[in-house]
């Protein structure tokens, strides 16, 4: 197949780039090695839309794109309907020297152009967030910060791109690439080939390896692992705003993050590792994370943990994004080192890449029939019983509550499958089934039955997240 643009990596960067480019007369391939989109760094993201004060926009591209990206989410939500709430961010200080750092962050935010940020004393801080420890001295409040369901955002972006002509190639692990007069030839591990005039390397933790495959620049992505703990919605500790400590050298510290769906994440840790597939969690980090979090919000308890997970930040030395046309291989654009605030910046990254693509010689002509909207799909958990009565009368499958913890109906499971999410994790990220306190103990069997019915898959083809992550190994 021949494409104008091939985007390697269907994480948040690749998804936003694909969706933006799908507004133009271009034939686009969005490719990913995993069985579904958003299965790498983007799925284990903290889901924060940052407030624009953490780094200096005069020095860092990531800070410039963070400010710009933050402002783009309201319109995107109206068009694409993903869970996003501008709940605000508080950075809380407990010691005098931390208050000084806060003041620095505040000035940085002002210089960056962050909207609405303010310094708050103890009283105002506790009024904004009564669940904080009363030992808090001061805080920086960024009302423009928010929270988002990162995989739902990626799903929506990819769906919109596909609706506007982008082709999605999954289980396509780039194994080889060459360039001739006709452009790039890209080969997958399972020997599928595509051609493309331009290639965008948005491969997350693998961006360095993809660059090497294309004989382009040498750089090293350091996977920086973060462990997060998910807290039950019944916990009394869940704050209304994202709570940050005053940041340390390597990361923004351990945070308390309310989610748009009413649960809370506590984390992440930050440890540089070697293995790009290493997603284990450890008892040691659990203790550190909770000790730290309780010092900010005393009501936090390990007893409310639903699950834990880990994600890898694709960090580059220097800590900034690397978004540029390859000097060594014309037509290749690197989108690398997209660690925090990558999710916030992602819609702005797409704009930035579009300009680079133009610079590289690609002609962009707008389509007259680009449709920015996706049809809203009803979720039974957000309806009143009277609304639920209406949709259930139309489709009885809405009345079958498959996931009791997160209140997900059969109709939503079926919709996820029809939209191409055919692994248990993919269905979970689209619907929330299995994300609640039983962690799939009650609903996994039902979901597998629906999956087999809807797709004709046999039991041994069902996986957790593609590849060898099979669920069932045999039958009686």
């Amino acid at each position: 197949m021949n494409y104008d643009v091939a985007i390697i990596g269907a994480g948040v960067s690749g998804a936003c780039i694909a969706r933006l480019l799908s507004q133009y007369h271009l034939k686009i391939a969005l490719i990913d090695k995993a069985a579904d989109v958003s299965f790498g760094t983007s799925k284990a993201n903290s889901g924060i839309i940052h407030g624009g004060f953490h780094s200096d926009a005069g020095h860092y591209l990531k800070a410039k794109l963070e400010i710009k990206g933050n402002l783009m989410f309201d319109q995107l939500k109206r068009e694409l309907d993903f869970p996003f709430v501008r709940c605000g961010i508080l950075v809380v200080a407990f010691r005098e020297e931390e208050v000084k750092t806060l003041e620095k962050l505040y000035r940085q935010g002002i210089n960056n152009g962050a909207i609405g940020i303010e310094m708050c004393g103890q009283e105002r801080t506790l009024a904004l967030e009564p669940k904080l420890s009363h030992d808090v001295l001061a805080s920086l409040h960024a009302p423009g910060g928010g929270i988002i369901e990162p995989y739902r955002f990626v799903f929506a972006m990819v769906e919109s791109a596909v609706k506007n002509g982008t082709e999605l190639l999954l289980n396509f692990e780039v194994a080889g690439a060459s360039k001739d007069a006709g452009g790039f030839l890209i080969e997958s591990k399972d020997r599928r080939c595509i051609r493309a005039s331009y290639v965008i390397n948005a491969a997350g933790v693998y961006a360095d390896e993809v660059s090497e495959i294309f004989n382009a620049e040498k750089f090293t992505i350091i996977p920086r692992k973060g462990e997060e703990y998910l807290i039950d919605r019944f916990s009394t500790a869940i704050p209304s705003k994202v709570i940050f400590p005053v940041p340390g050298a390597n990361s923004k510290g351990t945070l308390c993050i309310p989610t748009p769906e009413g649960t809370m994440m506590v984390g992440p840790s930050a440890v540089d590792i070697d293995d790009k597939e290493e997603l284990s969690t450890s008892s040691e980090h659990l203790q550190n994370i909770f000790e730290f979090a309780k010092h900010m919000i005393p009501a936090i308890s390990e007893r409310d943990i639903i699950t834990s997970f880990a994600g890898l930040r694709p960090a580059l030395a220097g800590g900034d994004f690397l978004i540029e046309n390859s000097a060594m291989v014309p037509g290749l654009i690197h989108v690398a080192g997209i660690q925090s605030p990558g999710l916030t910046a992602s819609p702005a990254i797409a704009e930035y890449v579009k300009d680079l693509l133009k610079k590289a010689g690609c002609t962009l002509v707008e389509k007259s029939d680009f449709d920015p909207s996706l049809e809203k799909f009803p979720r039974i958990r957000s309806m009143t019983p009277y609304e639920a009565e209406g949709v259930t009368a139309e489709d009885p499958a809405f009345g079958n509550i498959v996931c009791r913890c997160e209140h997900v109906s059969e109709a939503e499971i079926v919709e996820a499958i029809r939209r191409g999410h055919t692994t248990l994790d993919g269905i979970k990220f689209f619907t929330r089934s299995g994300m609640g306190r039983c962690q799939g103990g009650f609903c996994s069997g039902k979901i597998m039955r629906i999956l087999m019915r809807e797709t004709g898959m046999s039991f041994d083809e069902i996986t957790k997240r593609g590849g060898g992550s099979r669920i069932l190994t045999g039958s009686l």
Binding site: P385, R465, G467
Partner: protein, 420 residues
Amino acid sequence: MKEHTFDITVIGGGAAGMAAALAAEKEGCSVALVEREEYLGGILLQCIHNGFGLHEFKEELTGPEYAQRFADQLASKNITVFTQTTLSEISDERESIKSLFCYSSRYGVFCIRTKAVILAVGSRERNRGNIALPGTRPSGIYTAGLAQQLVNIDGYLVGRNIVIVGSGDIGLIMARRMSWAGAKVHAVLEIQEYPSGLTRNIVQCLNDFSIPLYLSHIVSNIYGKDRIERIDVTPLKEGHADNAAAFSIDCDTLLLSVGLVPENELAKKTGIELLGQTGGPLVDSAMMTSIPGFFACGNALHIHDLVDYVSQEARRAGTNAAAFIRGEKTISQYRIRAGANVRYTVPGRINPALDNTLFMRSMIVRQQAQIEIKVDNRVVKRFKKSHIQPSEMICFTLNKDDMKGISFAEDSVVEVGIVQ
């Protein structure tokens, strides 16, 4: 919206719900039973092993047989059963007529108006997150109950080389079940110094199949990217990890049998007071919760090890809910508290003017244990048990005669302890 009116609505059609509905109907009430699944029976339906019904029917039945006995009785009674129906929301919970919004693929969305609600919604399994098992996140890690459902209801096997974490009854039963299905069960690991399942299950499910039980051992790491490949096991020495003695087991499946907790979501959402030690509602001697008209029984109240006790307890809830409908007041209820070496007692309040059947769970293993009941620190009753252990629930009756002549103040506390 379609509306139905009943005196009593039972939520959950498992062992507890069926017994409660039958008892309430016997008292002449109009009764509805709401069940999520297509068939009545609850978790009994996947428990195809025997051992059920020794107290209730004086014979050994399988889970489905036990359930069927009750389902047959229900069918002959005037009880309205809504299967494939989930109770989604309760409103007017403090009014005399409560509204229950039900979602069903069969009946659509409808509302039940009812004077009393019996929560018989069972329990759920603790999972990997609850015990914070470290390591990678491959497939192949399931709760024992899910694996049991998949093999016994759907006929699918979750793996071939299995390690079971926790020696709860479901884990033990599954060790035997998976062995019968041709899988190799390499070990059962238990964090405590004693097994958490019934002795008969240790004998019949592990010893008879030469499956090793490692007491005081924990899973210290999990390996495998796509599917689980290996675990590290570390023994505990006086409560601390003995890392020098750690070893690995290759496996493709880890089954977790690390305890059950009452499914208390509805109770919590409704604002019913819960008991910390059980995770279920705090109930009085009539099995009524802190909100008038709401009753609880079965594993939704506390975790039972015998279904026969569930049925017995649920009948009390059904009978008392009927008394509540008739306007009979539960009077002079005194708080009963777990004392030395006792994890909990249920109910949490008693009426000394009546005979009270109590369930309690010990925190210790003991031969010739002495159980002591005190009222405001004054001993009123002592009795002996030849053997007690945490995995076996203790059932006893505190007779009204035991309490004769004792003066109760408004804040009197009854305490049940095990004498050291």
